[in-house]
Symmetry: C2
Subunit: 409 residues, 2 copies
């Protein structure tokens, strides 16, 4: 009854998996106004110059800069005001030598003008003339045609998660729909005769389903759609039936497996029945999370996760988050990282990655990472943690006081 | 026509504003399964011990630890197997001295047992007896009643943005609905005779609406609901009518104001007509973003933002994001911070906060923050930026090569 599987390092496990998992990014068109956080799926090129006309950046007078050279408060330049450019209107007249036009911030500069004098540096002499007290250089206080972005210039590349300013930039160019990646569908199958739905009372020996919900939420957080297939009893036919349905309806199928050895073997068998090549990795040198299965079945990604909620979440982050991002054609969103000193010794084995849940504490102006006490398979270890530190493959552990990088959650 | 307003520092502006803005957090009840990212609005206490029965963490035999003391492969302990605890079932029998029961990972420990011997450290002698090769200590391989969380223990506090593991922790306790903050409603009013909707072709002098969309997306990103009130022409009656409607329907009203001085004055007048105390701050020592209005009108938060998209977004982050978080009863979500060396000198004035859009560049193994070139009021300055650095109030600038903190976006 001891487990016989070849344990792979996380990078090796991922390499084996991604050799067989080479999906196409599915694309859909959405309104740019609704595209916040969506992953762009096509290269976007500017269809026009922005702005399309020279604009003033101040309230003032559009002039030919040369007409203001040498102007001082004592010896101002004297210019004739030949008109005003109304906001939102084209300048319908031209500026000649010695002439100026009143313009507003964001308004169009008339032909013949190449700079704008701020209103504060002028004075009205009479109804149609001004004095200018300070010279302006050519182009001063003007945004030139195409200065923001030029027609034909690449603006956003595929894989970009659209931010508020990106949406603004697209609207500025009249790009009101965009091609984005369709959210991958992640199916979560919870198993175990001891597991009951959270809204039901428990009998002695029973526990409520955690992983269907925490794993679905992890999937949603990174941009996938999640389907929960409920709790499947510990029996091969029921499990295979649920798995066949899930693998048909989803891009990724995740088994939150019963934790006994016999149950894990059953999960591997069922996965192998779902399609070729089947199980690629069974066992990863990660703590917690060793009895993990990575598989590809008929082009779908399939994972068997340990039943304990901490292992399940660590493994989700390690393998399923990047799989979702592959399907979205993007990289995993970066986590906030905090440098902190480790509050106590942590042992590890070389050849294994350890993930340790920590809280941050302030002590004497320094940040310390305190491992959350308690058994590593308890859900409140995760709830009470603010982040995680990784003890790398080649390390035998980290001593108290050493600096570590905490990946915040 | 020069501007006469008292400029406040950002902390002073915020203090004036928050003295008058003291909203109640509105609460609604949602399914825990749908509560990812929502802000918890009540203190949660565990209604039960978790687990409710002692559980094995391994596959093996539940025993009285004392029966295994001194056991070795050469001199094993000999125990009678009196039963098996099925997964999901209560242990219906007791363990007496010299007895053991087969248990599975996650299964219940029967009364009389206080530890579990891993199956690898045992051997079946015959149908009803085993040998144990290694002693276990009391409590070994057992999760005790209440070891994960105890009945009556506080589990999550108001203000928490619920993470996947929090949802898991609630489900484990049968807490399937939770009180969360109702998303505040942010109304965005875009103004300016030059502004046209993004799906319309532009005539010379016209530009497309950016801010309605970028500001709405900023509001959504931090957990608010956004309503766009369209583009209001530069006229006092139209503006006041739109503003009255918005202030009635929303918790926060944001004017993306026309940028001319006269227009800003009109905005301030309209805001003062919406309710007491009206405009509290008109002008903040921030670059870009100086001509900002902070107001409270009849309990609603009202902001006048400069029309240029970069200023508008900087000011949104500085004042409106924390206002939304006040209404949610939480803190602003932390931004990812990156330490980098500044790629070129940046001048500033003491007494003013400057926000400079930057990109990160790798040079000789170091990260450098390169200010995005181009006028600060162009939307593609923001689109091309990866983050922002702040030059503090008391600084005259930062020299090239100095270390700065980039707040990533």
């Amino acid at each position: 009854m001891t487990e016989l599987f070849t344990v792979h390092t996380p990078p090796d496990a991922w390499a084996r998996f991604s050799e067989h998992f080479r999906p196409q990014v599915r694309v859909e068109r959405v309104a740019t106004a609704d595209a916040l956080g969506r992953v762009l799926a096509s290269q976007l090129i500017s269809p026009q110059d922005l702005p399309e006309f020279p604009r003033s950046t101040v309230d003032g007078y559009a002039v030919a800069a040369a007409d203001t050279y040498g102007a001082t408060p004592g010896l101002p330049a004297f210019l004739a005001v030949v008109g005003e450019v109304a906001m939102g209107k084209a300048a319908t007249f031209e500026i000649g030598p010695g002439e100026a036009a009143l313009v507003h911030t964001g308004g169009m500069i008339p032909p013949g003008a190449d700079a704008v004098v701020m209103i504060e540096n002028t004075q009205r002499v009479d109804a149609s003339n001004i004095e200018v007290f300070q010279p302006v250089a050519e182009g001063q206080n003007v945004v030139q045609v195409g200065e923001d972005i030029r027609r034909g210039q690449p603006i956003l590349t595929p894989g970009r998660r659209l931010r508020p300013q990106d949406i603004g930039g697209l609207m500025a160019l009249g790009i009101t729909t965009v091609d984005v990646a369709t959210p991958p569908v992640v199916g979560v199958i919870s198993t175990g005769d001891e597991v009951v739905p959270p809204d039901q009372p428990t009998q002695p020996g029973q526990v409520r389903d955690i992983n269907s919900y925490s794993l679905a939420a992890l999937a949603q957080r990174v941009g996938a759609q999640a389907i929960r297939y409920g709790i499947i009893p510990d029996n091969r036919d029921a499990l295979e039936a649920a798995a066949r349905r899930a693998v048909q309806e989803c891009d990724i199928v995740v088994f939150s497996a019963g934790s006994s050895v016999s149950y894990r073997d059953m999960t591997a068998d069922v996965i192998n029945a779902l399609g070729a090549p089947g199980v690629l990795v069974h066992g990863v040198s990660v703590k917690p999370g060793k009895p993990t299965i990575l598989a590809v079945c008929g082009g779908k990604a399939v994972f068997g996760l340990p039943g304990n909620p901490v292992s399940a979440m660590v493994i989700f982050d390690l393998f399923i988050t990047p799989t979702i991002c592959t399907l979205l054609g993007t990289n995993a969103p970066p986590k906030t990282k905090v440098s902190a000193r480790l509050a106590r010794n942590l042992a590890s084995d070389a050849g294994r990655e350890d993930y340790v849940q920590v809280r941050l504490e302030q002590r004497d102006g320094e940040i310390w990472a305190a491992p959350v006490l308690g058994k590593s398979n308890l859900i409140y270890t995760l709830v009470n943690a603010e982040g995680v530190i990784k003890i790398p493959l080649d390390s035998n552990g980290i001593r108290a006081g050493e600096w570590v990088t905490v990946m915040m959650d």
